[in-house]
Amino acid sequence: MKKIFKIGLILTTVFSITLLHSCREDEYIFGTEVASRGEPNPDAKVLGFYMLNEGNMGMNRASIDFYDFRAAQYKTDIYSEANPNVVKELGDVGNDIKIYGDKLYAVINVSNKIEVMDKWTAKRIKVIDVPNCRYMAFHKDKAYISSYAGKVSIDPNAEIGFVAEIDTVTLELKRKVTVGYQPEEMVIANDKLYVANSGGYRVPNYDRTVSVIDLETFEVIKTIDVAINLHRMAIDKYGFIYVSSRGDYNKIPSNVYIIDSRTDEVVKNMNTGASEFCMSGDSLYYYRVEWSWAAGGNAINFGIIDTRTQEVITDQIIKDGTEKDIMIPYGLAINPETKEIFVTDAQNYVVTGYVYCYSPDGYLKWKTKAGNIPAHFTFLE
């Protein structure tokens, strides 16, 4: 009997010690972690870049990192510390980040908002509620935001998306124009806004058009038939718009088309796919990730299109073989000053991802852990 009590006493002690060490504690805001990466460049004119980590849906894990070229430091999650009073931090699923004027804009898709911040401090200036917002473009004193949201209809996902106009001074919503189904990226040329419509909710009846909007009247003046499931857009200095089609992820591969902004006609089919691209000078850098049933995995390619000849000039950007470490490339950017190449790795979209920095000739300079689904860059000059 005494033995039992003894055992009981020992167990009690062990149990209570365990509990003591395993009680709840006060929860703190997410802190920034600083990692030294690369070589400091004290004379850098491009001071750094902001990286928007999308964060997996439902996890409320969109976050903003900052890389400082002068100090060669990568800082994760700077938003939470800069805005400690914002309830539940940046939000759910970041989708775009851009600097315009003195402001930093982040599009947070599932949180249905555009977070407008000071570009130097990342402190909140204002929140603009836009349901199911996707991408932004800027022109003069206006910002344009594309959105999947649309007027409620009986048939699910028959709603037609819109582009909204925001005054970049007052940060007020101004006008709205209905475009195609599930609009994505936009570019601006000759006071016209071009919107790539995906129809991504309407599989297999994808949208296949680019809507052209007159920014004066804010009306659709033309709809250009291109290809199914359009996504990315970039414009070169000659007025040619590159638009990517995601294909149907099955029989129809992804592809890139060129639209001439003077005639608003498709002038070329590149016959090469792209998941993401980034315009830098006369080079359009791209990568492509395509699921291959034959290989039972993803086929990944990197390349450059020369915008002067509109031809692929290389299908190899990374020269040291380290691109094989990248599980899923999910973001691409070129430093406008140094032409360094930045690629993100989203891993399996669930775990912590990576940012890779390559020299302009394609050799790995550094790599760092970012947040969950690192995806979108914007450079601070």
């Binding site: 039992i4 055992i7 009981g8 167990l11 009690t12 209570s16 509990l19 003591l20 395993s22 009680c23 709840r24 504690e25 006060d26 929860e27 703190y28 805001i29 997410f30 802190g31 999308e54 439902g58 996890m59 400690p84 309830v87 539940k88 759910d92 599932v110 249905n112 929140v127 509620d129 836009v130 349901p131 999947y148 949201a149 649309g150 007027k151 409620v152 699910p156 709603e159 919503l173 709205k176 991504g200 909710y201 309407r202 599989v203 009846n205 995601r246 992820y249 998941s275 699921w291 599980m327 899923i328 891993q347 399996n348 979209y349 669930v350 775990v351 912590t352 991802g353 990576y354 969950n372």
Partner: protein
């Protein structure tokens, strides 16, 4: 927090009931007079945990899922809210590896493989038990052999004692959050050999409760502290079931019909700028099942089971908001209905070759069909139909000191689809061996060990879900190894009545784990067999029955230590989380229950502790850490006998210390709630 305060807040309550129970064996014995009593010589060979009788009824929880949390090794994934989904995971091997049996026949969901145990109320439950490996019995269907662990829900059977021919119980429950739950149970003797029961309940609640998010700055000043109301967690549900029980010469039969319908909010994650959403789910579940047992000779025993089930699930996602003066949609819209049907039969044969050697063979046949009606979706639906033949052969030896059970089960699966590519036929075999050894004649100390391999077939969603499913998926395999012991100590002439303890250590390995692999587009995943997980752990539970004069007490405590680590590589590359503990797997978890009975009074105290774990972001980094949670529940019940009826009244407090916790990240749980129950028994 101050250390002292810490001890008071989480220590004291936890350690009170340290050594601890045996769940009112008296009750089950009494009631067993009505049922065929079978000896269970293999009970000690296989790890089993049971909750039954009074303890189950006075545990201040509502659903089966909540009660199962008291078993060591079970984790309940609870999305909060009254209408929220609750699924269980045993030894963190994954929901798909738990078989859930309702009165002897498995509950199935061929579409996604998960059973929402939040919808099964405890009102009519007689006993819940969890077996690791499989049930300690070879006279069972092939299905019973086929899961890595198995939970049995056994509903009450008519308890018509002392010549009574009718029982009627009417109950009503309400809570401090809006909640109304009237229910009834009726039992009737139809003939000397046939009894029937019927029971039903309604639950209606607006599901609104307060939750709180609070964070501090690194310098300890307040960053934010916000309290809001959980919305869209309302529920209106109806359950009705009826059963017939018959006794035969050398056997018995039963048949039951079950109906459930609910209309509930499916509350989503609480994320910045979006604290409510409008997803709705409507369910209709109907099944009818029967069981027939006969001992044809002293040596040959036969059992037949049959079931038909129809499930309809209607899911509507429709969030709207006002934008620039117009009502617009928010996220993707869904209006999908899924219809599942199942036919199941099983024939079970057992033969006693000698008094120490039994053999059994069983064959199950199952047919599943999934139809769908998805508004606005134009991809062709597969309309899959699956034919499954399961077979099992088993043998058991009982040489007093040494006991053994060996079984092999196999499955043959054939599918048909109307559209898309059908999955190829599958043939699988998997073995299991269980050994028990009792070293001392006069001491109730038993050693046990088992090794079991199981497979789980891909679900219809894994194979055919539009653009994600992959019809060439292989089954997922799970190897489980276990060693353990049980020890039971009787007492005489002391305040103690009985003390039992059991403990097991295990190792698990999942290969070809079915997971969603990434593709180039975030919205696109591909189901694949690339997952690999390895786990090990130790579980212990102890029960103590004791008394102080006329006050009977029993105490139960359980503890589990688990590691379950992910070693998945994608295209040969390790993920950044390689080797990390998988999401929502606490290293430490435990529970305790203490009950006391005195003269119609019944007091129950229960405590649950779930330690530190990491959320769905996977990497074991500070940012992904989820705080431990622990709740204290207390209930007080009084039974008052009157001349013609018996009145039962109970008051319960759940989450006594009003802890604002989350089981699943961004899905807040209710704080302190009071519950009031009243029942009249005729």
């Amino acid at each position: 927090m101050q250390p002292l305060k810490k001890i008071i807040l989480c220590g004291c309550f936890g350690l009170l009931p340290l050594i601890s129970q045996a769940q009112s064996k008296l009750d089950s014995l009494q009631y067993l007079q009505e049922v065929v009593v079978t000896a269970k010589p293999f009970e000690a060979v296989i790890p089993v945990q049971t909750l039954s009788g009074d303890i189950l009824q006075t545990l201040s929880v509502h659903s089966v899922a909540d009660a199962l949390r008291y078993f060591s090794g079970i984790q309940v994934k609870d999305y909060g809210g009254l209408g929220g989904l609750k699924t269980i995971d045993v030894r963190n091997m994954g929901t798909h590896h738990v078989g859930v049996f309702y009165d002897g026949i498995e509950l199935n969901n061929a579409q996604n493989g998960t059973i929402d145990l939040g919808r099964f109320s405890l009102d009519d439950m007689e006993e819940l038990s969890l077996y690791n490996g499989q049930k300690s019995d070879i006279f069972q269907s092939a299905k019973d052999f086929s899961s890595a662990s198995t939970v049995y829900l056994r509903t009450k059977r008519p308890q018509l004692l002392d010549g009574k021919n009718t029982n009627l119980i009417v109950r009503y429950k309400t809570m401090s959050i809006n909640f109304n739950n009237p229910s009834f149970r009726f039992e009737q003797r139809l003939s000397p050999k046939v009894t029937m029961s019927a029971s039903g309940e309604m639950i209606k609640s607006n599901g609104r409760y307060k939750f709180r998010y609070k964070r501090r700055n690194l310098d300890n000043t307040l960053a934010y502290d916000t309290t809001a109301i959980r919305k869209n967690s309302d529920i209106e549900s109806y359950r009705f079931e009826t059963a017939l029980f018959g006794r035969l010469e050398d056997g018995g039969w039963d048949a039951k019909a079950y109906f459930y319908s609910s209309n509930r909010g499916a509350p989503g994650a609480i994320v910045a700028n979006k604290f409510e959403d409008g997803f709705r789910q409507k369910d209709y579940n109907i099944f009818a099942q029967g069981n027939y047992t006969k001992d044809f000779t002293d040596r040959y025993h036969f059992q037949f089971k049959g079931k038909y089930a129809f499930d309809k699930m209607h899911y509507i996602a429709r969030d709207v908001t006002d934008f620039m003066g117009e009502e617009t949609t928010q996220g993707a819209q869904f209006d999908d209905s899924y219809y599942q049907q199942e036919v199941y039969t099983s024939m079970i044969n057992m033969y006693n070759i000698t008094d120490w050697w039994d053999v059994s063979a069983s064959v199950d046949f199952q047919w599943n069909k999934l139809n769908a009606n998805r508004k606005g979706i134009n991809t062709p639906f597969s309309y899959p139909v699956r034919y499954t033949v399961l077979g099992a052969v088993a043998t058991s030896f009982n040489l007093n000191k040494f006991k053994a059970m060996v079984s092999v089960n196999g499955a043959f699966v054939h599918e048909k689809v109307k559209n898309n590519t059908k999955a190829p036929d599958k043939k699988e075999l998997s073995p299991a061996i269980f050994l028990g050894y009792k070293p001392f004649e006069d001491v109730d100390f038993n050693l046990r060990a088992f090794a079991k391999r199981v497979f789980r077939m891909p679900t219809f969603n894994d194979l055919y879900y539009a653009q994600v499913g992959y019809s060439n998926l292989k089954p997922e395999y799970m190897n489980q190894f276990n060693v353990g012991f049980t020890y039971s100590m009787p007492f005489e002439h002391t305040i103690f009545d009985q003390f039992t303890i059991q403990s097991d250590a295990y190792y698990t390995e999942t290969t070809d784990k079915i997971i969603a692999a990434p593709t180039g587009n975030l919205f696109r995943w591909m189901m694949s067999n690339i997952g690999k997980v390895k786990g090990k752990g130790v579980e212990a539970s102890a029960d103590l029955d004791f008394h102080f004069g006329p006050v009977n007490l029993n105490a139960h405590a359980s503890y589990a230590y688990t590691t379950q680590r992910d070693y998945t590589k994608i295209a040969g590359k390790p993920l950044s989380s390689y080797g990390d503990q998988i999401p929502y797997t606490p290293w430490h978890s435990g529970s305790s229950i203490v009950t006391a009975n005195y003269d119609g009074w019944h007091v129950n105290y229960s405590f649950i502790y779930v330690g530190k774990r990491y959320n769905g972001a996977f990497n074991n980094i500070p940012k992904n850490k989820v705080q431990p949670w622990y709740t204290h529940d207390i209930s007080l019940q009084k039974k008052i006998p009157f001349k013609h009826f018996k009145l039962t009244a109970a008051v319960e407090v759940n989450n006594l210390l009003n802890q604002h916790y989350e089981v699943i990240y961004n899905y807040p749980m209710p704080g302190r709630t009071f519950k009031f129950n009243i029942g009249i028994e005729l």
